[in-house]
Symmetry: C2
Subunit: 373 residues, 2 copies
Amino acid sequence: MTEQSVGIVAPQTAHFNTPLPLKSGGVLPEYDLVYETYGTLNASRSNAVLVCHALSGSHHVAGVHADSGAVGWWDNLVGPGKPLDTGRFFVIGVNNLGGCYGSSGPNSTNPATGKPWGADFPFVTVEDWVDAQARLADLLGIERFAAVVGGSLGGMQALSWTLQYPERVGHALVIASAPKLTAQNIAFNEVARQAILKDPEFHGGHYYEHGVVPTRGLALARMVGHITYLSDDSMDQKFGRSLRHDKPVFSYDVEFEIESYLRYQGDKFAGYFDANTYLLTTKALDYYDPAFDYSGDLVAALSRATADYLVVSFTTDWRFAPSRSREIVYALMHSDRRVSYAEIDCPAGHDSFLLDDAQYHAVLRAYIDNIRI
Amino acid sequence: MTEQSVGIVAPQTAHFNTPLPLKSGGVLPEYDLVYETYGTLNASRSNAVLVCHALSGSHHVAGVHADSGAVGWWDNLVGPGKPLDTGRFFVIGVNNLGGCYGSSGPNSTNPATGKPWGADFPFVTVEDWVDAQARLADLLGIERFAAVVGGSLGGMQALSWTLQYPERVGHALVIASAPKLTAQNIAFNEVARQAILKDPEFHGGHYYEHGVVPTRGLALARMVGHITYLSDDSMDQKFGRSLRHDKPVFSYDVEFEIESYLRYQGDKFAGYFDANTYLLTTKALDYYDPAFDYSGDLVAALSRATADYLVVSFTTDWRFAPSRSREIVYALMHSDRRVSYAEIDCPAGHDSFLLDDAQYHAVLRAYIDNIRI
């Protein structure tokens, strides 16, 4: 079957009045979740697949928004005839709590004050997101997901689903992910956070009321993040030492094309993403450690799981290197779980998980085609 | 012989009235160079060794300053009985032009205005530094260095000495260095620069006159730099995911010890280093490319050299990985130069070159002991 787009899609909003207890000890009294669905839920409600997003992702996984023309961030994966075939599966994307795309988050209204939550929005964790996603599943009448899929931070959610709700997940696809951050991972997040927190326009997280945005800090955060998403080699192939003016001009304006690219990515991101959401999300990344309550024993932590797994890593990913995926694979094997593992030779670094790489998509297609619904 | 300290040392200042033409096309009308020397120049003036410093280094290579108690940055290498033995060699350390430790730089007085140079200090390059160092050598009566030694950016200066003044260098020790920066290297420098340039207290580089210092930007620059100086593994061994409060406390204050370390390093650095010097020095790093005028042909670029070389890299250095050192080695071999190469298995990443690693120092000692004077 030819690959097709799911076409024009529109987000929906679900409002939840039941308070959500959070891992931090706090409670979210009520909240919205914005989501999109593609394909049709079958009569036995057995073909639902949840796609979890990463740091800067959203519920807009596939298709096109009629107003903006925006294409979903994993549109190359999700659609009729695509590896995650919406002719067969009912696919759901949801903007996580604390996000900035419509779900309750720092830039949405705090019902207690009538003003934006800002820095008062509670810390959220991977586990909290999964709990909220489970409530959305309840609302949609989905008792069990055929699969939960995610890359990077999304992969952590897929993994966590199989531990928090083992009976509700058939398969977990954990892509370009890690069982927890390393010190270096946390260090990069901390640089990003300090850039935002120290921006004079951050105003303690209540910049909305001041009519400003900490764009300088957010742009810097994105710049440093971007370096970790790409491989050294792919940066060299894309930009190398290409000079804008063919020779050094001895200025702090753009000289090397890589500078232009980074500044552009930083400024663009600062124009649409929310700084408080960035802070919250990097903290959720830092905190994630399913083995924490098991004295660091990942095998023990994963022994609750009953799902089958596909774990995928990319050779040139140095943010979450293949060795990090192998930690998950080994622990699953020692927990007697069924796990398939693929290490894809793709030059694009961490961002590979978003690309339409032939080998990568062939692996996903083969695995997903074998999921029984 | 037991290793000893060179003891109490004091910097000296040399003033130069002859204008220095710069690679940027500008001219430095007059300038100071601050330097230190250790050991004694022999009668035939054949035992001089120049040590070149890296991004945040200085002329204070070895020994102790009587007033501050500050120990030289390469004190473990330079001294009586040490690998670079001051019982045999006359060792010179010099603060590079544009620096902030006494040599003419942005924080010194612009003779034309009587005010600090600030952003008006001209761009300086590796080649300019070498030219200035050559004038200092002239002043000290040193026609030819037995060796020029440097790590990281210092290694680039050692390499450049053998190309700019081939007849004046016997040996070049090029350690933890690279023939030029990659796009990723430039990208990290660019993040650091943007952090400084966008700090509201930077004031276009004339912050001295405003009585402020762009400490936020400079601290961020240092934080991101520090991540690249350490290996992923050494960070994990030193800090791992150690929590300050034994469990997550859900705050933007320090939670993980790595956060504390990075903030401390950033704040400390911002307290003593000059932001304009940081900017200028990262640009000098970006610009360095001896093959630029040879259409990228490093073999052709190095064919001018007549020195012998020791090239040293460290297995866990991902800022200037061993593959970068091997580029230099291969080019030297194809230029028919005599080159020794050692790849040291040291866990400390790029910073390894500053450490007293046994294997590393044994290699340096063996090589230096064989230098004829």
